[in-house]
């Protein structure tokens, strides 16, 4: 894949976010291009959700810049939000609304015309098997149904950038399959998809690019085939954790940059 000359849909540049003395995100830079499905991997507390929340404008950050479709989320927040959609890890939505009222509300907020919203909602709800429940209060929905509802809402305005935090948690196998298809179709239409996941098999199969974050810093970032090489993403991830537990080791990101990534993996863990 050649990204030269293309403007990134999402550009994260030297972003730092600290909570007190702890740097949850420590100088992270990455780019997501149009058509990309970008996987973001790391253990619990590594800084994934913090960076995602900074990208979608839920939380502020201390240093660096985040640009969506060429606009800064700091100085042009509303324009960035207009082309972005977010699916959080815990799909808490207004329980006092019915499913269709929530989707109608989201469509209004994003200024989606009546015909377009109906077509989008109907298509996605039918595909995820949620149509018959749309007239019911969200308070009666299961976690998986809420997840589907939020995803349908996220797609209603055909976002240029779709950001998802653990999107496959709580989904049944059929829905997970359809969601993967929907993400691929959205990317094929020219949007960019950026998501975090602990399901490394899904990330490896679905994503064009992948980044691994640990203790707020990127340890690897690039096309999935380059990061994984001839091993699995799980091997690479566990290998990285093992090796970096030893003091003084050179981070993989620097090895990739220096062309020594094969060397790093050869001594890696096999499962």
């Amino acid at each position: 894949m050649n990204d030269k000359g293309k403007a990134p849909v999402l550009a994260v540049k030297d972003v730092v976010k600290a909570f007190g003395s702890k740097r949850a995100v420590d100088g992270v830079s990455l780019e997501v291009m149009s058509g990309d499905i970008f996987g973001f991997v790391g253990h619990n507390g590594a800084g994934k959700t913090t960076l995602i929340r900074a990208i979608v404008g839920v939380t502020d950050f201390d240093e660096g810049d985040i640009r969506i479709a060429g606009r800064s989320v700091r100085t042009d927040a509303l324009a960035c939000k207009q082309v972005t959609a977010y699916v959080p890890d815990n799909p808490d939505v207004y329980e006092f609304l019915t499913g269709i009222q929530y989707l109608d509300y989201i469509a209004d907020i994003f200024g989606v015309a009546a015909d377009a919203r109906r077509a989008s909602i109907q298509a996605h709800a039918d595909r995820l098997g949620l149509t018959s429940a749309l007239g019911d209060l969200i308070s009666s929905y299961s976690h998986g149904m809420r997840q589907k509802l939020v995803l349908i809402g996220a797609l209603v305005h055909e976002p240029t950038l779709l950001v998802l935090d653990e999107p496959f948690v709580g989904l049944d196998p059929e829905a997970a399959f359809h969601v993967k298809e929907m993400l691929r179709e959205l990317a094929d239409r020219g949007s960019a998809v950026f998501f975090s996941s602990h399901v490394l098999e899904v990330v490896e199969k679905l994503c064009d690019k992948v980044a691994i974050i640990k203790q707020g810093r990127l340890r690897a970032c690039g096309p999935t085939v380059d990061v994984v090489g001839d091993e699995s993403l799980e091997d690479v991830f566990l290998d990285m954790i093992d090796r970096e537990a030893e003091a003084g080791k050179e981070p993989v990101a620097e090895r990739v940059a220096a062309g020594r990534e094969g060397e790093s993996r050869r001594g890696g863990r096999k499962t």
Binding site: Q82, I100, Q101, V112
Partner: protein, 531 residues
Amino acid sequence: MRSFILLLKIQLLGLFGINKALHADAAKAKRTLALAALVVAAIVAVAALYSVGVAEGMAQLGMVEAIPLVAVLVGAVAGAVAAFLKTNGVLFAFKDYDLVMSLPVPTLSVVLSRIASLYAMSVVFGLLVMVPAFAVYAAHAGAGALSVVLMALSIVLAPLAPLAAAIVLAALIAAFSSRFRHANIVMVVLSLVAVLAIVAGSFALSGQSGDEAALAALGTEAVAQMAGFFPPAAWAAEGIASGDMLSFALFAGVSLVAGAVLLAVLVRVFVPVNSLLMSSRPHGSFSFDGAARGARGLRARTPFRALVSKELRLLVATPIYLLNGCMGYVLVVVACIAAVAARVMGVLSLDALPAEFAPLVGGFLPWVVAFCVGISSTTAPSVSLEGSSRWVMLTAPVSARTILGAKAAVNLLFALPTVAIGGVALSLAFSLDAVSVAAMFVVPLGLSLFAAFVGLAVDARHPRYDWTTVYEPVKRGMPVMVAIMGGMACTGAGIAVTALLGTAASLVVAVSIGAASVALFRVTTNGRLVA
């Protein structure tokens, strides 16, 4: 026993927010604890003042012997009301039900720990009301050691029977609500009727004030009715006032039996009731056919209108929020209708007042209306109420001004018609002069802007999203306190200015309050919303 203590410890840490305060960063913990201490001190002071005032009033009317009865009754009922409001969320439909019930702990321990935390809260309310009243009684009646011991016992025992009734009532209402979509509306209407009845009753009583003997007779009659309403309180009072141990033993027995029966019944129905409350499943009848109700709803609106609609739905779906935010408006409208009706029937006439008092009505009546409007704020808890769904608001491509403006608009949707109705009705009912007529509109309008914008600005700056039941932001939130106390302070200032400088000056005060409130809103909405 060990499991009960562990479960109770978790309950109490959550109930009073102690654990959160202890584990926040040092500065935040200090601020939280200082604020909590301030609020507790204020509540204790107000409760003590009120309780002492009522008890002293009774003593002045020669009703010292009736003080224990009123103290036990009011203390027990106050605790039960507090427990009633917390039952759902603590005993039923609580968030960690699945986790707790999966633990290797007997159901009895779970139920006991939940009831114990509700009981602890009831006792705290009982202490607030009963101790000051008992102190007044002891001072006037020269209570002996036995009497003091029985007073202390009554504080512990009195909440048990009302608590049992409150829990049963809360369970029935919760079960009813879970089966009927519009049960919330029924609850709101019933609650409104109850509050209006209480207010009307208070006015009826105060309207009969006059000579002390008549008031004492009325008080005696009221005490007799109270004794009939809750006989155990009368038995406790007999013990405290007359040393009648048999009566007190009866009171203690009934209270303990009520508690034991409640426990026995709850252990049996705890799992079935919670299963019922948590088993609501979608009906699954929606379709996109043209005639379907949901499909008709798919119309494009502006973001502002969508936000207003969402806020209204939240208000209607949350009875305690609706009652708290709109009770003042209902009182004003009902009072206005009553005033006009009284005028039409010839009952209400300024001619009946002494000549020097008639002009005062036009000066102070606007502030009475303004008081009701000024303490009715739907906006003060509205940002915090976004709770765990706040990501929807924070990721929306809509400015903070639009989001907060929609919340303010909902408040004004209730306030402005109320101000208009109040202004027209009371101006007609009391045949006011031009300045007073202007004040009837301007003064409540100024306070309604205060109610709409000030609490909202505070909540936007200091939201608390981590609540577990809506009761917390709606009833106990700092922005709500600021809005209500601020509304009272503004009303007090306005009344003082009217008394000193006249009705025209009160117009200046009201305009200043309104303008400052709008300015605060504009400053607040220049920034971004806090995550």
